[in-house]
């Protein structure tokens, strides 16, 4: 590898070679003058930490893919036991043949685009795609055709990231850009009750075409049932604990709230992700959920209203179904697209939770809105930061005006204030 690196130094392909090199080895180039803090937590380590937090979710989703598939065919097991019904080879096999290709396409296409851009621009390959690449397969329905995913990844990486200048410069979270592109481009593959369980769509098409030797299977999500005001059917099928552990249909990796929670704690303790954003987003969704519950309790909407099912859903249960927990922990906390200031993070997170639940209830086509809410707040994050900083400057200017300043220090203080606030 070192030999290759030296051989290609200064050539066109150098960035591509260097990328592999730094991925495998710690770079040996160091600054030679002055004193520097040598930190081990460069961008690659940060990214790897997030990936570590995602691995349990990915493993769970491999088994859940099979579990949902067989349960939809044979019915959910009566006495559920984890080892007997969930962690089985059959389940894992379905997961492996469905999720591994998604992962491979996501990484393959995404990194290819990154490499092409690095070579064209002549700078180092950026690591930004490492996390995006694992997030993407986790937030799409299991039967998403691979070519659609490839098209969406190209779109997301080029339009969502590279046109703004690459990793660190993007306004929108690339993984969510990919998800949003898929949602708007191929809505029939992204919503409804036939996309969340492996083979559900194939079977329904075969039955429409006249096949009689197979049974239709459907995997309506919890939110899907509620959107049809069919809360009773949902409760008969899934218990609250099912939702919490993640034994429910949904996008590949969004269901296991427990594991997401553990991943979130891991990210908080390793100081990779902001606890402010997570906490405020949880608060925001609870507030919105409480408002909706309140509206139902007041009797302001009738049982027949099409929003009744979702609005009367226990406020805290919004957090354990759909993509809300996943979005809050792994997507909203993206340090590039989120708010940067501490107070800004509170506002940013709060609105993500608040809007997610609101869109979820009012979106007529698709009872989910986490990705839309996060993308919207991505756009507003710089504005929020701007006003937080302005407010800070104003407060400090006021303090400066009111303060009794000893003539000797005044220059120093003003300069210090400027340095802090600008």
């Amino acid at each position: 590898m070192h030999d290759l690196k030296m051989k290609y130094k200064g050539k066109k392909m150098a960035p591509a070679i260097n990328a592999f090199h730094t991925f495998l080895y710690t770079p040996d180039e160091t600054t030679h003058s002055g004193s520097h803090v040598r930190g081990a937590d460069d961008l690659k380590r940060t990214m790897n930490t997030v990936i570590m937090a995602l691995v349990p979710v990915l493993l769970f989703s491999v088994f859940n893919a099979g579990y949902q598939h067989y349960s939809a065919i044979n019915g959910f097991p009566e006495n559920f036991s984890l080892l007997e019904h969930f962690i089985t080879w059959d389940n894992a096999w379905i997961g492996i043949i469905k999720i591994l290709p998604l992962l491979a396409v996501s990484y393959g296409v995404g990194l290819l685009v990154e490499f092409i851009f690095a070579v064209i621009k002549g700078h180092e390959v950026e690591e930004g795609y490492l996390v995006t690449g694992i997030l993407v397969p986790l937030i799409v329905p299991i039967d998403t055709p691979l070519w659609m995913l490839a098209v969406a990844v190209v779109f997301g990486v080029v339009i969502g990231k590279e046109v703004f200048g690459g990793t660190g410069m993007n306004i929108l979270n690339p993984a969510l850009t990919i998800r949003a592109f898929l949602f708007f481009a191929y809505p029939t593959w992204m919503s409804g009750d036939k996309v969340w369980v492996h083979e559900a769509r194939e079977r329904s098409e075969a039955i429409l075409a006249g096949a009689s030797n197979i049974d239709a299977i459907s995997g309506e999500t919890v939110l899907g049932y509620l959107a049809q005001n069919n809360g009773a059917a949902m409760e008969a099928k899934y218990s609250v604990m099912d939702m919490f552990y993640g034994f429910i249909p949904g996008s590949v990796g969004e269901t296991p709230t427990l594991l997401i929670l553990l991943g979130g704690l891991f990210l908080i303790f390793s100081k990779i992700a902001s606890w402010r954003i997570m906490l405020s987003a949880v608060l925001g969704s609870l507030v919105m959920g409480l408002i909706f519950n309140g509206v139902v309790d007041q009797g302001w909407i009738t049982e027949t209203s099409k929003f009744h099912g979702l609005m009367s859903f226990e406020y805290w249960q919004h957090l354990i179904v759909g993509g809300l927990a996943f979005g809050i922990v792994y997507m909203a906390t993206d340090p590039v697209t989120g708010a940067q200031t501490n107070r800004g993070k509170w506002i940013y997170g709060f609105f993500i939770g608040f809007l997610s639940v609101m869109i979820r209830v009012f979106n007529p086509a698709y009872p989910e809105g986490v990705f839309l809410a996060i993308l919207l707040m991505n756009v507003f994050a710089p504005t929020i930061d701007h006003y937080v900083i302005r407010g800070n400057v104003k407060r400090r200017m006021k303090r400066l005006q009111n303060a009794v300043i000893h003539p000797k220090d005044s220059d120093g203080k003003a300069a210090e204030l400027q340095a802090e606030t600008v």
Binding site: F181, F184, Y186, T188
Partner: protein, 215 residues
């Protein structure tokens, strides 16, 4: 270009590429977003704008010495409005279905910034022949982008061109659809036009770095 002097030819050719009203001056974006989901609508819109801008520029240029400067915007508006009404009525008479697709956007040609912009910037200061060429040139520059955007949006979004299926039948699954290909619904909605225009701008400026603005 025996017919036109080099200077006159540039009046037509410049807006086609290096001074394109949409990609360089970023004018007339709203109609470019609204009606480019289909190629046919794009083409008709382009022709309508060519007519309005070509004729309008000549009319304004002929009147340029008698229009009091204080009310020139009103005079310009009257000229555009008259021409647009002519276009609208012709469309309603001969292509009723199409005029329904274009709906309010024919009327909104009046507010197309390109038209007022050319009246103000060119026709008020130049003779009729030059104004005519300038009007045709700018409208063509607008139309080229419109047709380009319409081409990609209709092809990718509906799998048709001018309403004729070119990729096969999406319901019977023939042609390309037999391989599992599907139409891209994103291309139908107006934001897609913004992205397609953005990509055109990107490609154009990459080919000709002189067009990139200094920061």
């Amino acid at each position: 270009m025996g017919l036109l002097s080099k200077k006159d030819a540039n009046l037509i050719l410049d807006p086609l590429a290096d001074n394109n009203p949409i990609t360089i001056q970023v004018l007339g974006i709203c109609s470019a977003l609204a009606i480019t989901a289909e190629l046919q609508a794009s083409l008709v819109m382009a022709i309508a704008v060519i007519f309005v801008l070509g004729v309008g520029n000549v009319v304004i240029s002929l009147m340029r010495n008698i229009i009091p400067s204080k009310i020139r915007i009103i005079v310009q508006l009257i000229v555009v409005a008259t021409l647009v009404i002519i276009v609208d009525q012709v469309l309603k008479a001969f292509a009723y279905e199409l005029s329904k697709t274009l709906a309010v956007f024919v009327g909104l040609i009046i507010t197309n910034c390109i038209i007022m912009g050319r009246f103000e910037a060119f026709a008020l200061a130049n003779g009729p022949w030059k104004s005519f060429l300038d009007g045709i040139g700018n409208a063509l520059g607008y139309g080229v982008i419109l047709i380009l955007v319409g081409f990609f949006r209709e092809l990718l979004g509906s799998g048709t061109l001018f309403g004729i299926p070119v990729l096969g039948d999406p319901i019977a699954k023939t042609g390309l659809y037999a391989t599992g290909y599907e139409n891209n619904g994103f291309m139908i909605i107006p934001p897609a036009a913004l992205i397609v225009v953005g990509i055109i701008i990107w490609v154009q400026r990459t080919k000709n770095p002189a067009l990139v603005e200094e920061n």
